[in-house]
């Protein structure tokens, strides 16, 4: 019984980590960088949903839609302002671009945090859950409706994104750009638009995770950093490669974390993610499912 409850919590947490990790993987595949500002996109989603629902008094569904739009818009704006000038800088080579872009995302991380602190301050806020009935009983097991919603939304989103990359024209141009940027430019793909779309999509993933997580954790300008590390851990486990890999990585991470915390040491839950990151990157940098890549000179 207890194991079943822990499992349900672990899986739903893991889905959140997977969603956050998914956004990281999208940007990583496009530009080859870890996006340090991703935790703040998560925070932006949570704050947008809170603003829509509590401050503006929108119905819950509309406030979630509002959060998705705001998060996506922030992702695109951020890419246009801070990332585009570097990635389109002709005099820099690709490797040096990446270092500069990482530094820019680090800067964005604290700028966005500061911007959230001005209107909303440092106080801790609470977004009500999506459904009035907080738990339902399935076969004698009480499950939180919010957590079921998280799992359902994550699964739908992962399938949708997989289909997006496999079927749609934009998804295909994104894959082409990540495979070979020069080739993509030669056949007439506007790589700038592709990067904007990638950042927008990544921000939507982060924002959805944020607004789903907001009723379970508190809404606060600093909420993103911890989630960023957990998302990174999920992405590392999944190997930074595939959409489904990162989801599996996230769920594994969520389950392992909750059991570790329950049966070993509760306070160590906070550093579970960094430990996973270090172990995976040191001993199996290709992730659990990936294969080792050859070094190109």
């Amino acid at each position: 019984m207890e194991i079943a409850i822990l499992l349900s919590v672990g899986i739903s947490n893991g889905c959140l980590y997977g969603l956050v990790g998914l956004g990281l993987v999208l940007v990583y595949n496009a530009q080859g960088i870890p996006n340090f500002a991703h935790g703040e996109l998560f925070m932006a989603g949570a704050f947008a949903a809170y603003t829509g629902n509590v401050l503006l008094g929108l119905p819950y569904g509309w406030s979630l839609l509002f959060a998705v739009v705001v998060a996506g818009a922030i992702g695109i704006i951020v890419e246009l302002i801070a990332i585009r000038p570097i990635s389109m800088h002709r005099s820099l080579g690709r490797a040096s671009n990446q270092v500069a872009i990482v530094l820019a995302t680090v800067g964005l991380m604290i700028v966005l945090k500061g911007l959230a602190r001005i209107p909303w301050g440092d106080s801790v806020r609470n977004l009500p859950p999506a459904f009035m009935t907080e738990t339902i009983s399935i076969g004698g097991l009480y499950l939180s409706t919010q957590r079921l919603l998280i799992v359902a939304v994550t699964l739908v989103l992962v399938v949708a994104i997989s289909l997006f990359f496999a079927r749609t024209a934009l998804g295909k141009t994104m894959r082409a750009t990540s495979l070979n940027i020069t080739g993509a430019k030669l056949i007439g793909i506007n790589t700038g638009h592709v990067y904007s779309a990638t950042w927008g999509l990544a921000a939507v993933c982060g924002g959805i995770a944020g607004m789903l997580a907001a009723p379970l954790i508190f809404v606060h300008p600093d909420m993103g950093t911890r989630m960023l590390l957990k998302g990174f851990a999920a992405a590392c486990l999944g190997g930074f490669g595939s959409v489904s890999g990162v989801l599996v990585g996230g769920i594994l991470m969520g389950i392992a974390e909750i059991f570790f915390g329950r049966y070993f040491a509760t306070s160590m839950i906070d550093i579970f993610a960094p430990i996973i990151i270090i172990i995976v990157l040191l001993f199996r940098p290709q992730g659990l499912f990936g294969s080792r890549q050859a070094l190109r000179v």
Binding site: S91, V111, P274
Partner: protein, 333 residues
């Protein structure tokens, strides 16, 4: 004249010494803090600017130094003059221990591993209450030399100035040595460095160790200026602040550090009561400099001919694109 042009920092130290005779306590405190950050930023500059490695754990190394020296002084009554080098060595040992596995990880993944390490250290400092006092922190007593208590900020300044000068000279020595050239070679091209007989793995571990040593000494000085330390002093912000110093001043430049440390010590003090504005300020500085002035203020001043060209400072396109470095003449005379 040539000597002075090539050792501008000596002039800066002399100016600070003169200034401190007229400064009030608050200005003196800021000068102390700035010198402390110069020591720390020199360590970060060695690993980030010269060796080109993306180590994000400098706040943590600084924390190890600060806590080692503070705990040695408060719990074991060790004199500060012994506690400070011990703090540097402790940080260097941890840096070496982190560096040996971390160099397996290439490029930008290193940033993640080191961020993970600094989160873990943060957690240890908060939870090992019997040793570190947890979130309450440690109160650092004034050091005593030969029976005299060094209580005022001016007294602290004397210690910090001497240490900063020694550490600056050491950094210059390292950069001009074989090891410093090996750092630059690895930054410019790891494979080319390997082909030319540089032991890449060993050099990288050296970079980690030396920069952690600087951070440890700096952390010890930091505990001296603040008189009180807690884990929050050494979190990710601290690391980002130091990154800002190196990037704003100019990576791979010795003079740049002075500019960067000066700006980023004064700026937070101006915005002392507004954490939001501080964060926006740092972040925007970092973004603007990365986009428009990737070589920092020192690079800008060197291009304008105001400052002399430094050895190993990357040419035109900035430190990111070290491969496009133009050949340059050594300016030592």
């Amino acid at each position: 004249m040539h000597f002075l042009r090539n050792n501008v920092f000596l002039l800066i130290f002399a100016a600070l010494l003169v200034l401190s005779f007229f400064a009030d306590a608050y200005t003196q405190y800021l000068i102390n803090l700035m010198l402390t950050y110069i020591v720390i930023a020199q360590g970060l500059n060695l690993i980030l600017g010269f060796a080109g490695m993306f180590a994000f754990a400098h706040g943590a190394f600084m924390g190890i130094g600060a806590y080692t020296s503070a705990l040695l002084v408060t719990k074991l009554n060790v004199p500060f003059l012994i506690a400070m080098p011990t703090a540097g060595i402790a940080a260097a040992l941890v840096g070496c221990a982190i560096g040996i596995p971390a160099i397996r990880v290439s490029g930008l993944y290193l940033a993640m591993v080191t961020v993970g390490f600094s989160e873990i250290l943060q957690w240890v400092l908060k939870h090992w209450k019997s040793l570190t006092g947890g979130p309450d922190g440690v109160i650092v007593p004034a050091p005593v030399f030969f029976g005299i208590e060094f209580r005022s900020d001016f007294h602290t300044f004397a210690i910090i100035l001497v240490v900063t000068i020694l550490m600056t000279l050491l950094a210059q020595g390292i950069i001009r040595s074989r090891l410093g050239r090996a750092f630059v070679a690895i930054r410019d091209s790891e494979i080319a460095a390997q082909c030319n007989g540089v032991n890449v793995a060993r050099t990288k571990v050296f970079a980690f160790t030396i920069s952690a040593f600087y951070a440890g000494i700096g952390g010890s000085l930091f505990s001296l200026t603040q008189h009180y330390i807690n884990p929050e002093n050494f979190n990710l912000y601290q690391t980002i602040l130091q990154f800002c110093m190196v990037i704003v001043g100019g990576a791979a430049s010795l003079v740049g550090l002075f500019i960067g440390a000066a700006i980023l010590t004064w700026l937070p003090e101006l915005l002392r009561n507004a954490q939001a504005l501080q964060e926006i300020g740092y972040g925007l500085l970092l973004i603007v400099f990365v986009i428009f002035l990737p070589r920092g203020l020192a690079g800008f001043l060197i291009d304008k001919g105001i400052l002399p060209r430094e050895q190993y400072s990357p040419a035109r396109f900035g430190w990111f694109s070290a491969r496009r470095r133009a050949p340059e003449k050594a300016t030592r005379s």
